[in-house]
Symmetry: C2
Subunit: 424 residues, 2 copies
């Protein structure tokens, strides 16, 4: 094959790669023939020059082929999964996986840890004492058979993606549409679900800032999934505002339990049900309303079974931060908009996120939002409670929050949570 | 300072860096805090987004400050140096340094090894048995005092440049105007000459292909030198055709000896004298015609002294390749144009250049050109002789040469060797 340097030069000059070139480049990276510094130069060239649809497909396959691919077809039930492009307060996977499992569709859910201002599903679940996401293939199979759902780390699925993702993080090459799409889809194709629903975030708290970019990302991922035999569709959803009233790790588990108990914030419930309906539909299951399954406690039972199967103990109290600080209303009126990015960064400052891959997160760090956009506010009443185990972090977090919210005289415009639906 | 990732992101997004940011980035690279893979991502971003004049100046200083800077002012004589941006058959440094020294101007010449299709001055000189370019500061001082010239490897001058140059080579980020300018000028500012003349190549065999780019590079380097107190000027010279009749390592030393003996190809003599006059003028020396110094053998004596001081033995035969192959004229007529790039690549294929930094070169590999553009040619007479120690390389070399020359009925257009002169 061409020297890695020639591949980098081609992309630098805006030329398209042949599929076999990308396949060999990734294989040689994994074998140690191509070093990090050549891959990072290529990543920057790809970031700035772009990858076309064929290249994105080839890169996805190259990442997929770096590891194993699961197959659950022998279990005799349909399977489906969901992926979110990452949002502030997005704990939907926690109620969604058991809910869909309770409706008869298996959910083999590869999940990640967070980096930057959005948390990862695994960081949230690991706030539960004893919970582990490091499952063997046999454990996953057992859980899918017994409970219908498993939430696990990628392990040996798409190992090249993990290596490249870590490199993208430290070389400012994360926010690239084809790099995001191939990263997500390589893992999701590897996990072996029949159907996939993408929750593609739009707005201030999303990775891609414009609706046009998010729409393009959704379309690219739907095409990639469909081309590989996975029934894929996407919802474009709002991420200008945080999702729900809790952002962080343990506080989001608590809110998820509220949703599974039939309560919880309206937006979290609405999105959970919409995604559940898409997953059931994409998996070819009809005649079941997930709202009933949520209301009658079946989904909660499945969640408890899942946590218990993965070593977690929900009888122990959630480790919400030992220290708290409250931001109160400077005047009475109506709560204005709440900026998802400001809240995400505040929570990150409190210790809930990591700034380097593999770093530790504080399970207790988080923010509770007491008044949502448009709700009446009395002067002096609590608007936000911040939690952390390291109180010296309050100053920085409150500074991030500052300017990200307001109290005024009129409610902010109402926006739909679900903006659009994209199918192949 | 900002995280390296933020610096990369800024350049990725087309923002300009503050001088202190670049200084710290390079310092942290040298201390090991910033790894290769972050620098290579930054290099690609800088390649594609560019660096403005202030950033180029700051980068030059950052590279300069990574090592020592020589000062020869106590030796009581003016000093000057020349730098070529790299050409095929460009052996001018070999006769030029002793010639200028013989005219009374000291030449402390930092030189490099070649990479790709253009050879390096040190690779040529090292074809002389025993020659070494690894000189200590004291050895350089001694030679400048005794002989007036020393040609040496960068050693501890601008070590950051050496590290970054090696990284640029393997990440396809070499052909960038600000990166070239800062690399060249950091070493040339460090060597401590009072004056500097740049031979900026234009044409097929040059690194930058268009005259506009070469002109811009020359202007940038003249500004950088002038801003740092070095009297700097540039000649734009033709590199569509190879310079002289010998391209390679040992064969170029042989041609240099011809020039020093008062013979040699007209173009090599013309360029050597033009650059010598510029160096003398920039160093403030007038009333001496270097043509006389070349004709009367003084320059040859200085060359022999220099080689001898640096351990070389000119009494031993030059190691011209043991195997040769001749390309003959397919018809009679007039020699057409000879493409510098084709000849450069043929010589590289014969083993004269390296494809990885630190690789070994064949001193014997080279090409002799028997008929120059416009000269009459008889059918069957030799046009090129190729030399190598590894005869299996002839096939690839002849293939590179193919299409790079022709025999026709009319001479090709005459072009001036010296295209323009650029001063501050």
């Amino acid at each position: 094959m061409a020297d890695a340097r020639e591949l980098i030069r081609d992309k630098r000059d805006g030329h398209a790669h042949a599929p076999a070139e990308l396949e060999q480049f990734i294989a040689r990276y994994m074998s140690g023939d191509v070093p990090d510094y050549q891959v990072s130069a290529w990543l920057m060239a790809a970031f700035l020059r772009g990858l076309d649809a064929d290249e994105t497909r080839a890169l996805t396959l190259a990442l997929l082929h770096s590891g194993r691919r699961f197959d659950w077809s022998d279990l005799g039930r349909p399977s489906a999964d969901k992926h979110s492009t990452g949002g502030v307060g997005d704990k939907v996977s926690l109620p969604l996986a058991p809910l869909v499992a309770a409706c008869g569709v298996m959910v083999p859910m590869v999940s990640g840890r967070g980096l930057g201002h959005t948390g990862g599903t695994l960081d949230k679940l690991e706030a539960i004492a004893g919970f582990t996401a490091e499952l063997s293939k046999d454990q996953i199979r057992q859980q899918l058979r017994d409970i219908g759902a498993a939430i696990f780390a990628a392990g040996d699925l798409a190992p090249a993606d993990r290596k490249i993702y870590a490199l993208r993080d430290v070389t400012a090459t994360t926010e690239s549409l084809p790099l995001i799409a191939s990263s997500v889809m390589s893992k999701k194709l590897a996990e072996g679900a029949d159907a996939l629903v993408l929750d593609t975030k739009v707005g201030r708290g999303a990775f891609l800032k414009t609706e046009a970019e998010s729409r393009e990302l959704a379309r690219t991922m739907v095409e990639l999934g469909t081309a590989h035999g996975v029934a894929t569709r996407a919802l474009l959803t709002d991420m200008d505002r945080p999702l729900g009233r809790a952002v962080g790790n343990a506080v989001e588990v608590a809110e998820s339990l509220d949703v599974l108990a039939g309560g919880g914030p309206d937006d979290v419930v609405e999105l959970t049900l919409a995604l559940a309906r898409e997953m059931l539909d994409a998996a070819g299951v009809d005649g079941i309303d997930p709202a009933d399954t949520l209301a009658d406690g079946t989904a909660m039972d499945r969640f408890r079974d899942l946590v218990s199967a993965q070593g977690g103990d929900l009888s122990q109290p959630l480790p919400i931060g030992a220290h708290s600080e409250t931001v109160t209303a400077p005047r009475g009126g109506v709560m204005g908009d709440v900026d998802a990015m400001a809240v995400g960064l505040a929570v990150w400052r409190l210790g809930a996120g990591r700034s380097t891959p593999g770093g530790r997160v504080q399970f207790g760090a988080g923010v509770r939002i007491h008044r949502g956009p448009g709700e009446p506010v009395a002067a002096g009443e609590p608007l936000f409670t911040l939690y952390t185990d390291t109180p010296e972090r309050f100053g920085g977090a409150i500074a991030e929050l500052d300017g990200g919210w307001s109290v005024g005289d009129h409610p902010p415009p109402v926006r739909p949570l679900i903006i659009d639906r994209i199918t192949s």
